[in-house]
C-alpha cells in the first residue's frame, strides 16, 4: 500500500523524521546496544573498574535457581492475570451487552480504573489487605482466614494479581464490549429460533466469533503482566516474601538499581528483550491475520 501522489524534496523528509529518529537512536538503540555490551562485563558499583567476562553473566544466571524460579513466578503471574482478567471482563461485557437500559452508565463506572496508575492500584489494595489494619483483612480474620501476605507467598501472589486485574478490567471490558456489539444480532436470533438457550448460544456462536479479540487481549494482557505491573509489585510486595512475587522485570530493577550489579542486570535485560521480540512477533503476525478477517 503506497501513495500514488507524493511530494518531492531532497531535504524536507529527513528534517521531518529527524526528531523521532534522534530520540529513537538516543534512547532506544543506544541503550539496547549498551545493555548487550554491559551484559558481557563485570563492573564495580561506581564504574571504576570494568572487566570483560564474556558469557559469564549469562551462565551465572542460568545456574542461579532463583532466576529460573523468577521465570516460573512470572509465568504463573501472567497466566493468572490474563485468565482471571479476561474471564471477569468477558462476564461484565456479556452482561452489559444484554442490558438495554443503563449500559452507558455501567460502562462509565467500569472503565475508570484504567486511569489509575499501577503503583497506586498496588497501594490501594495493599491498604485494603494490610496485615494489621486492612479492612478486608479484618473481614478475612473474622472468617478464620490467617491473612498475612507479608510472609505467605501465595497470599502475596493473590494480592498482586487482584491489584493488577482490577486495573486491567476496564481495558479488557472495552474491547470485549466492542467485539460483542459488532456480532450481528441476526446470527443470535437465528440460533434462538432454533431453540438454543443463552448459555449454549454464547459458547457456540458468541465465543468463537470473539476469538480474535480474545486472542489479541491475551497477548496484550501477558505483555501487561510482564512489564506494566512493575508499579504494582514495587508498591506492595517488592518481590517477596522469599521470591514469591519476584517477576523478571522486578528482578532486573532490583539487581541493577538496588544491588548495583550492572552486568547481571544487563544480562537479564538482554534475555527480556529476546522475550519481548518473540511476543511482538506473535502480536504482529496476529495483527496481519486479523487484517484478512
Amino acid at each position: 500500500m503506497e501513495k500514488r501522489v507524493v511530494f518531492r524534496s531532497a531535504w524536507l523528509p529527513y528534517v521531518l523524521v529527524a526528531p523521532q529518529i534522534v530520540i529513537t537512536i538516543l534512547f532506544f538503540f543506544w541503550p539496547a546496544v549498551q545493555a548487550v555490551w554491559f551484559s558481557f562485563q563485570l563492573q564495580d558499583a561506581f564504574g571504576l573498574k570494568t572487566q570483560f567476562v564474556g558469557l559469564q553473566n549469562f551462565t551465572a544466571l542460568f545456574k542461579d535457581g532463583n532466576y529460573l524460579e523468577s521465570f516460573k513466578v512470572t509465568a504463573l503471574f501472567s497466566v493468572l492475570v490474563a485468565f482471571s482478567g479476561l474471564a471477569v471482563s468477558l462476564l461484565f461485557a456479556t452482561m452489559a451487552d444484554r442490558v438495554v437500559r443503563g449500559a452507558l452508565a455501567y460502562k462509565t463506572l467500569l472503565i475508570w480504573p484504567y486511569a489509575v496508575a499501577p503503583a497506586i492500584a498496588g497501594v490501594l489494595w495493599a491498604f485494603l489487605f494490610a496485615p494489621s489494619i486492612g479492612i478486608v483483612t479484618y473481614v478475612l480474620k473474622g472468617m478464620g482466614v490467617d491473612w498475612n501476605w507479608i510472609i505467605k507467598g501465595d497470599q502475596a501472589m493473590l494480592l498482586v494479581v487482584i491489584a493488577s486485574v482490577w486495573k486491567q478490567i476496564s481495558y479488557n471490558f472495552l474491547f470485549f464490549f466492542a467485539g460483542l456489539q459488532s456480532i450481528p444480532k441476526s446470527l443470535i436470533e437465528a440460533a434462538a429460533i432454533d431453540g438454543a438457550g443463552p448459555l449454549r448460544r454464547f459458547w457456540t456462536i458468541v465465543f468463537p466469533l470473539l476469538s480474535p479479540t480474545t486472542f489479541f487481549l491475551l497477548v496484550v494482557n501477558i505483555v501487561y503482566a510482564f512489564f506494566d505491573t512493575f508499579g504494582v509489585i514495587d508498591a506492595t510486595t517488592q518481590g517477596g516474601p522469599g521470591q514469591a512475587t519476584n517477576i523478571l522485570v522486578y528482578k532486573v530493577y532490583h539487581d541493577g538499581v538496588k544491588a548495583a550489579d550492572l552486568g547481571g542486570s544487563s544480562a537479564q535485560s538482554v534475555i527480556l528483550m529476546v522475550i519481548v521480540i518473540a511476543l511482538t512477533v506473535v502480536q504482529f503476525r496476529f495483527v496481519e491475520r486479523r487484517v484478512q478477517y
Binding site: L42, Q43, D44, A45, F46, G47, L48, K49, Q51, V53, A60, D64, N66, P131, S132, I133, N148, I150, I151, K152, G153, Q238, G240, P241, G242, Q243, H254, D255, V257, K258, A259, A260, D261, G264
Partner: protein
C-alpha cells in the same frame, strides 16, 4: 533544550553569586526524613551560622539505598556531592571504591584539623576503619537493635511488667502466657536479618563470616549456617508455626505493630523509640535483646546499624578544608550530645556519653542509655566488632528471602541457611571479582 540552557545559566549565576560571597558550598546528601531530617538541618544551620567561609547544603535523597544509588549515578556523571550518608550495609561497597572516596582521616590530616579515632566507641571505630586502623568514613548516626515490651500487656497476662525476658527461653514462656491471655501477636521484629543473623551472631560471639566478618578481606565467606544459627532460626520457625512470632516484613514494619499495641514484644532499632513514644498509648520498656543462656560467653555485645558520612573524591582542596571543618564541628561532644538526645541515636564518642550522663538526661529518660550499654557490654571480639561484606544490600536480601521461607514453613532452617550461605557466597565472589 531551553531548559538545559536555563539550567546552565542558573548554574553559572549560582556560581557567580557564591563567588561574590566568597563562600564555598558543600553538598551533603542524606536519608534522614521527618524529625531526623529536622535535627540534621539544625546541625547544618548551626555550623553555617558559626562561620562565614563555608556553607553546608543538606539534601534529602530518599531512603538509604536510594541516596546511595543516586550518589553512584551522580558520581558516574561527574557531579557527586561532597558528603554522602551511607548506611552500614553499604560500607564495603564504599570502601572498595578507592577512586571514588577519600578517607576521613586523610582529609582531617591534610587540613590539620584534630581527629582522634580512639575517641569513638570501639564498636563504632571497628566498623568504619580498615585493618590498619585508619578511619575511612565519619561515624554519624549509629543505632543498635533493642528489645521492647508492652508492660500493660504483660500485666494483663499475669507477668511481671518490670521483668522483661532476658533469654529466649524466658521470651517463649512469656509469649505463651501472653497468647493465653488473648494477645494475638506476642512477638515481632523489624529488620529480621540485622536482628536475627547479624546481631544474633555478635551477641553470641559467633562469626557471621570468615576473615573477621569480612573485615579482613574480600575473600570472606558466610558462616551463618552454624548449628547455633540453625537452632535459633529453627526456633523462630517453630514460634511462627505456633503463633508466638508474627513476621512483619524486611524493614521497619515491626515498629508500627508494636507501637499500635498489636504485638506485645518486639525487637527493633534504638531509633524506633521516638516513634513509639509518640504513638504508644501503653506503658513500655526498652531492654537488652534476649540470648540463649546455654551459649558460653553470651551475651557479648551488639553491633551498630545506622550510617556514616563518606567524603567523595575529586573535589577542590578548598572544599575539603570546609569538609574537615564541618567534621571537626560534628565531633564536638556538645554537638554529639545534641544529636543523640534529640534523635535517640546512640552517643558515639565516650566524651559525649559522659557529657550526656552528667547532664542528667538518662535519669530523666530511663532506658535511654540502654543501647550504648548494650553496644559496650563487653570489649568487642573479632565476631562482634562489626561486619563488612561486599554488596551486602543484595546479600541481606538473600538472607531475608531464606528466612521468610523458614518462617512461612516452606523450608527447614538448615536447608534455608545452607542456601543463604551458598547464594551469599556467590554474591561475595562476584564482588571480589569486580573489585580485584
Amino acid at each position: 533544550m531551553k531548559i538545559k540552557n536555563l539550567a546552565i545559566a542558573w548554574l553559572t549565576f549560582g556560581l557567580l553569586s557564591a563567588n561574590a560571597h566568597a563562600q564555598t558550598e558543600i553538598q551533603w546528601w542524606h536519608s534522614m526524613g521527618g524529625a531526623l531530617g529536622e535535627a540534621l538541618n539544625g546541625l547544618a544551620n548551626k555550623f553555617n551560622a558559626g562561620q562565614k567561609d563555608y556553607k553546608i547544603v543538606p539534601t534529602f535523597k530518599g531512603s538509604y539505598p536510594e541516596s546511595m544509588t543516586a550518589a553512584i549515578a551522580a558520581f558516574r556523571a561527574g557531579n557527586a556531592p561532597h558528603l554522602l550518608q551511607v548506611f552500614e550495609v553499604g560500607t564495603a561497597t564504599m570502601m572498595a571504591a578507592k577512586g571514588a572516596i577519600v578517607p576521613v582521616a586523610k582529609v582531617m590530616g591534610d587540613a590539620k584539623e584534630p581527629f582522634e579515632p580512639k575517641a569513638y566507641l570501639p564498636t563504632v571505630t571497628g566498623y568504619y576503619s580498615d585493618l590498619k586502623g585508619n578511619m575511612l568514613s565519619f561515624p554519624f548516626n549509629s543505632s543498635t537493635v533493642m528489645f521492647y515490651i508492652n508492660k500493660d500487656a504483660f500485666k494483663k497476662a499475669g507477668l511481671d511488667p518490670n521483668k522483661a525476658p532476658r533469654t529466649w527461653k524466658e521470651l517463649i514462656a512469656a509469649a505463651e502466657k501472653l497468647k493465653a491471655s488473648g494477645q494475638q501477636c506476642t512477638y515481632t521484629t523489624s529488620w529480621p536479618s540485622w536482628m536475627h543473623i547479624e546481631n544474633f551472631s555478635a551477641w553470641h560471639n559467633v562469626p557471621i563470616g570468615t576473615r573477621q566478618n569480612g573485615m579482613g578481606g574480600f575473600d570472606a565467606q558466610f558462616s551463618i549456617n552454624s548449628p547455633l544459627h540453625v537452632r535459633h532460626i529453627a526456633m523462630l520457625g517453630d514460634m511462627s508455626k505456633k503463633g508466638l512470632f508474627t513476621y512483619a516484613g524486611r524493614t521497619n514494619q515491626g515498629d508500627a505493630k508494636f507501637s499500635s499495641g498489636e504485638c506485645a514484644m518486639f525487637s527493633g532499632s534504638a531509633g524506633a523509640q521516638a516513634g513509639i513514644k509518640k504513638a504508644a498509648s501503653f506503658d513500655w520498656s526498652i531492654n537488652f535483646i534476649p540470648y540463649h543462656d546455654d551459649v558460653k560467653g553470651a551475651p557479648q555485645n551488639s553491633i551498630i546499624g545506622g550510617a556514616s558520612i563518606w567524603i567523595m573524591g575529586g573535589k577542590k582542596p578548598e572544599e575539603y578544608k570546609g569538609v574537615a571543618k564541618f567534621m571537626a564541628f560534628l565531633s564536638q561532644p556538645e554537638i554529639q550530645m545534641e544529636w543523640h538526645t534529640s534523635t535517640g541515636y546512640v552517643p558515639i564518642t565516650r566524651a559525649s556519653y559522659d557529657l550526656t550522663r552528667k547532664s542528667g538526661f538518662y535519669d530523666k529518660n530511663p532506658g535511654a542509655d540502654m543501647p550504648v550499654r548494650q553496644l559496650t557490654n563487653k570489649a568487642p571480639t573479632e565476631n562482634s566488632k562489626g561486619l563488612r561484606f561486599g554488596n551486602f544490600v543484595q546479600g541481606r536480601t538473600v538472607i531475608e528471602e531464606e528466612l521468610e521461607a523458614v518462617f512461612a514453613g516452606k523450608k527447614d532452617a538448615k536447608t534455608a541457611l545452607d542456601e543463604a550461605v551458598k547464594r551469599g557466597n556467590e554474591i561475595l565472589r562476584q564482588f571480589e571479582a569486580a573489585n580485584k
